[in-house]
């Protein structure tokens, strides 16, 4: 576990809070060297649970979950013939519960297969309050009735959860409620592969 997770900010005096926040701003949670191993591990854990991905489909959540799902699918292709990995992308914008608070712009949904009776492995980058996954479950049901839905995330901010939703496959778990924003950066989008903490 990295250091910042042990700093309990609620116990600090207000004036010190800002100093501490700035001190850890930009701190690395997952480094560029660690990321490929984590992705490979997640792919292997998925295969261990669902051997050969029989009757299972992978669905990445738009917009930022698909960077992770693209990598995991690439790792799965190392282990399985390409036609055994069924992969789609889901946008959940229209299922959010916060339209009056903030307008989100929709991106492409691409699910060119049936999910009826399948095991769906949802993939997202950060699991925070759980509200995105709640919306994703609703969105998913518009496409059919999966027999099972499981969840794979790169970072699990467990103490910040607002809904009873837990991941089945986790890259890294944060054990303290953190005042930081967890920013997952991807080479194809942000020029670098890592996960850092930012002052929100």
């Amino acid at each position: 576990m990295c250091k910042i997770q042990r700093v309990s900010l609620s116990t600090l005096k207000i004036e010190k809070k800002g100093v501490i926040l700035l001190k850890f701003n930009g701190m690395t949670l997952i480094s560029e060297q660690q990321l490929p191993s984590i992705i490979k591990r997640l792919a292997h854990q998925i295969l261990e649970t669902y051997p050969g991905l029989t009757n299972a489909v992978i669905i990445g959540l738009q917009p930022r979950g698909i960077f992770l799902s693209d990598r995991i699918v690439a790792a799965l292709h190392q282990e399985l013939p390409a036609d055994q990995v069924v992969y789609g992308k889901l946008d959940i914008t229209f299922y959010r519960d916060d339209i009056r608070r903030e307008l989100h712009l929709a991106t492409q949904t691409d699910l060119p297969f049936s999910i009826e009776g399948k095991t769906v492995i949802l993939i997202d980058d950060v699991l925070f309050t759980g509200r995105t996954i709640r919306a994703a479950l609703d969105a998913l049901l518009a496409f059919g009735r999966p027999s099972k839905v499981s969840l794979c995330v790169l970072v699990d901010r467990k103490p910040s959860r607002e809904l009873p939703i837990q991941p089945d496959f986790t890259g890294k778990e944060m054990i303290d409620a953190s005042p930081y924003k967890v920013k997952v950066r991807w080479k194809e989008n942000d020029g670098v592969d890592d996960v850092i903490l930012l002052v929100d």
Partner: protein
């Protein structure tokens, strides 16, 4: 990123970015409409009233479907069975409806500027579903969406708007939109149905010879002859109009290329457009109707996103 306006009163008030945002969001809604479950919960705490002071089939059904597919609560109002028939003013009617906690008003009115007047006096977001001979913004947006879907992009496209330009809110909204998106616009029809100031005011081409207009364009948007708005004879007969300006198969066969045929409906078959043209493979008239629901969902969604609950 959000729309620059609180209301959708006309294309005139929109920026190029607004139009792009509405069209790109509409394409996501079009995908939603292909799903086994076409309904999304997006506007589930939003109440919308459809105020139709003028007849409509397509637009009213299209708006109502868009609202229901977004899970909004919908109230319909048509003037024939309302208190407006008892002499209540527009503002009183709307204020009464809004006091029952309505968030958004979709309005069609025979008076140009009616929704603009309303926008000055009420807080709820207003969508203009056609005001007199002024604008019909959602029609122009769905026309643009359909053109973009069929031909790739709007910039550089040559669009001829043909027929009763004088009485058409569809024509004006289309001209504003196409100019903003970098398309070239020509209007064509009998001189009595084209306002003389239009060419100068809107910086567009005017062509009274229909065959030349068809030869020039990539898309022909054919408009209905609006007999209900014409209180003086502007051409001699419907049959003569068809012979001089109607879009017939013979006219299209003479062209060296295929052009896309559009019509906002309702069609007067055998007047401004012949049946074999309206039903041909080059016609995207029914695609326009289909796209209308997605485009209106997009407008409703983006305007709701601009209002705060407080």
């Amino acid at each position: 990123m959000a729309l620059s306006t609180k209301h959708l009163l006309g294309i005139k008030d929109l920026t190029q970015e607004d139009i792009q945002l509405i069209l790109s969001t509409a394409s996501q809604f079009k995908e939603v409409l292909q799903r086994p479950v076409k309904k999304v919960p997006t506007l589930r705490d939003v109440t919308i009233v459809n105020l139709f002071y003028e007849n409509s089939t397509r637009t009213r059904i299209s708006f109502e479907l868009a609202e229901k597919r977004l899970s909004a609560d919908v109230v319909n109002f048509t003037v024939s069975n309302s208190s407006a028939a008892k002499g209540e003013t527009l503002l009183d009617t709307v204020n009464n409806i809004l006091s029952m906690k309505v968030d958004m008003v979709v309005m069609r009115h025979s008076a140009s500027g009616a929704p603009h007047y309303l926008a000055k006096h009420i807080d709820a977001a207003i969508i203009n579903a056609g005001d007199g001979i002024n604008e019909h913004p959602t029609q122009a947006l769905l026309d643009a969406f359909s053109m973009q879907e069929k031909l790739g992009q709007l910039a550089g496209l040559k669009v001829a708007i043909i027929g009763d330009i004088m009485h058409s809110r569809v024509a004006l909204s289309n001209i504003y939109l196409l100019k903003k998106m970098g398309a070239e616009v020509m209007v064509s029809g009998p001189p009595t149905l084209i306002p003389t100031y239009l060419q100068e005011a809107m910086d567009i081409k005017v062509e009274y010879n229909i065959d030349k207009a068809l030869a020039w364009c990539d898309v022909a948007n054919v408009l209905r002859i609006q007999l209900e708005r014409q209180n003086q004879p502007l051409f001699s007969s419907l049959r003569e109009y068809n012979m001089a300006y109607g879009i017939t198969k013979q006219r299209l066969d003479k062209l060296s290329k295929d052009i896309v045929i559009m019509h906002p409906g309702p069609i007067n078959r055998g007047v401004e457009i012949d049946s074999d043209v309206a039903d041909s493979a080059h016609s995207i008239i029914l695609d326009q109707v289909e796209n209308g629901v997605a485009v209106r969902m997009s407008c409703l969604y983006l305007l709701t996103g601009r209002t705060n609950p407080s």
